[in-house]
């Protein structure tokens, strides 16, 4: 049932969303983990693996340094996986094409996540004021506990991003799913290659290694020639 699938994926979205900044940061929030986890819980781990591989490198170079907030690739991965699993039946196609299509639909919506993340951090500023007021009132324990309320802001931000991706993504797929899939299906092999290649280019453009082009060119050429000759 789509409702149950979306609900399970929603719970995953909150859990992995918290890992992005607020809790643990053991990187279950990375698309290569979050998407297969969603797929596994929805009974289609292969779909999650495909989505995770497509999304993983794209925004990996955008570092959460200082006040910088990268686009929410975690929710893109969870949302695209849920959409692909739920819609692959009604759209009449399995395999790579629904994963690629749903990732393409979900990707632009990941930018929305930055706004929700900013909202969570702004609301957390109020917690700081609250803690300072509690200290003025001599309530030390209350000051300390204000910190934990920040978890609810981050959880809400993750859930909101997920809901936007699922809501808008479902609308697009319901309205234009079949024609879009007919467009994507014959190109799925090329698109499957392009996503990680663009991600690699983005990393090369931002990684700040002096000999990056030489190293990349040498390793690519030697590996490619070896595969070709063997």
């Amino acid at each position: 049932m789509p409702g149950v699938d979306f609900l399970i994926a929603g719970l995953v979205s909150v859990f992995v969303g918290l890992d992005r900044t607020a809790v643990l940061q053991v990187m279950v929030s990375r698309p290569i983990v979050a998407a297969p986890l969603t797929g596994l819980l929805l009974g289609e781990p292969a779909v999650g693996l495909q989505v995770g591989a497509l999304v993983e490198l794209l925004w990996l170079g955008r570092l959460p340094v200082g006040a910088a907030i990268p686009p929410d690739d975690t929710q893109v991965a969870v949302g695209a996986t849920a959409l692909a699993i739920v819609f692959q039946g009604p759209l009449g196609l399995t395999g790579l094409a629904p994963s690629v299509l749903c990732t393409l639909v979900a990707l632009p919506l990941g930018r929305i996540g930055q706004a929700f993340d900013r909202w969570a951090r702004t609301r957390n500023g109020e917690l700081l004021k609250r803690a300072l007021d509690s200290l003025d009132a001599g309530q030390l324990e209350a000051a300390e506990k204000s910190h934990l309320l920040g978890l609810s802001h981050f959880a809400l931000a993750s859930l909101a991003t997920y809901l936007v991706i699922i809501g808008a993504g479902s609308a697009v797929l319901l309205l234009f799913g079949s024609p879009l899939l007919q467009l994507v299906d014959p190109a799925k092999g090329w698109l499957w290659m392009v996503f990680p290649l663009v991600g690699t280019a983005v990393i090369l453009g931002t990684i700040n290694v002096s000999r990056s082009l030489t190293l990349f060119g040498a390793s690519f050429t030697s590996a490619f020639l070896m595969l070709w000759l063997l």
Binding site: I32, G138, L191, L197, T200
Partner: protein, 264 residues
């Protein structure tokens, strides 16, 4: 009576709390409220009443560093608080120490963990993912978290045990050099990964393998556009659009125009 060493149970609570250091991350003072939350069990052990309130205020000052490097800073802060509670003098106050060390540690942590180990682990995991193996997320989590968790746990205990000397210890580890090695390893790995991906994709599409070598200038061009500030999203969507258009044209044009020129 001056407090003795922190009991292991309190140190363990501090360690567990350090995993939610950023729960209240905000634009005003970044990790400050989190710092107070992490250190609170130890501060309650060292101080009472007015002294405790002052200690709480001390740690609500602006603070921001890399979340994994924060363990070492907070461990050292505990050692300094312990000395202060005993009335011992240190050549750096806890506030000064945190202020001095947070920016360089943040830079080191960002370069090593976000810029070095994470892309390297992702690159290795992607080989598994492309092969359709569910070992991909497992490999990623293991490769990333082994150094991460060791650093977090050893950082807190080491900082607490060594005090200010932990700075020398971390310096001796030459983390910036390690970060550069990780980044170089990532570039080499991604080169091999792209070669493998291009090879199997072209083979799957029935295109001559020699066209795979065109991937290098294409990747360099996209990398250059990224450096020029073109957004990743725009690049992905526009390249995907061009591919969709090219495939449609190839399907609908007569064979002698669009057909098999890639395949000879």
């Amino acid at each position: 009576m001056a407090p003795s060493k922190l009991p292991a149970a309190i140190l363990l609570r501090v360690l567990l709390r350090s995993f939610i250091l950023q729960a209240s991350w905000n634009f005003e003072r970044l990790q400050s409220l989190g710092t107070l939350y992490v250190l609170a069990p130890a501060l309650r052990f060292y101080y009472r009443e007015e002294e405790l309130a002052l200690a709480y205020r001390r740690h609500l000052e602006y603070f921001n560093t890399h979340p994994f490097m924060a363990s070492a800073v907070l461990g050292t802060a505990l050692a300094l608080e312990e000395k202060r509670s005993r009335g011992e003098k240190t050549y750096l106050e806890v506030k000064e120490f945190k202020g001095m060390i947070m920016a360089p540690y943040a830079a080191m942590g960002d370069a090593l963990f976000w810029g070095g180990i994470r892309p390297l682990a992702a690159g290795i995991a992607l080989f598994f993912a492309v092969k359709g193996s569910l070992w991909a997320p497992v490999a990623f989590l293991l490769l990333f978290n082994l150094p991460h968790l060791v650093f977090r746990v050893a950082g807190l205990f080491g900082g607490y045990r060594l005090g200010l000397k932990v700075v020398e210890l971390i310096q001796a580890r030459r983390l910036p050099d390690l970060a550069i090695r990780c980044k170089e390893g990532t570039v080499v790995l991604l080169g091999c990964f792209c070669a493998y991906l291009a090879f199997i994709s072209l083979h799957g599409e029935g295109v001559r393998a020699a066209w795979g070598l065109a991937v290098i200038p294409a990747v360099v061009l996209v990398g250059w556009l990224v450096r020029k500030g073109v957004s990743t999203l725009l690049l992905v969507l526009s390249i995907a659009g061009m591919i969709l258009l090219a495939v449609q044209l190839n399907q609908h044009l007569p064979a002698w125009v669009g057909g098999d020129w890639l395949k000879f």
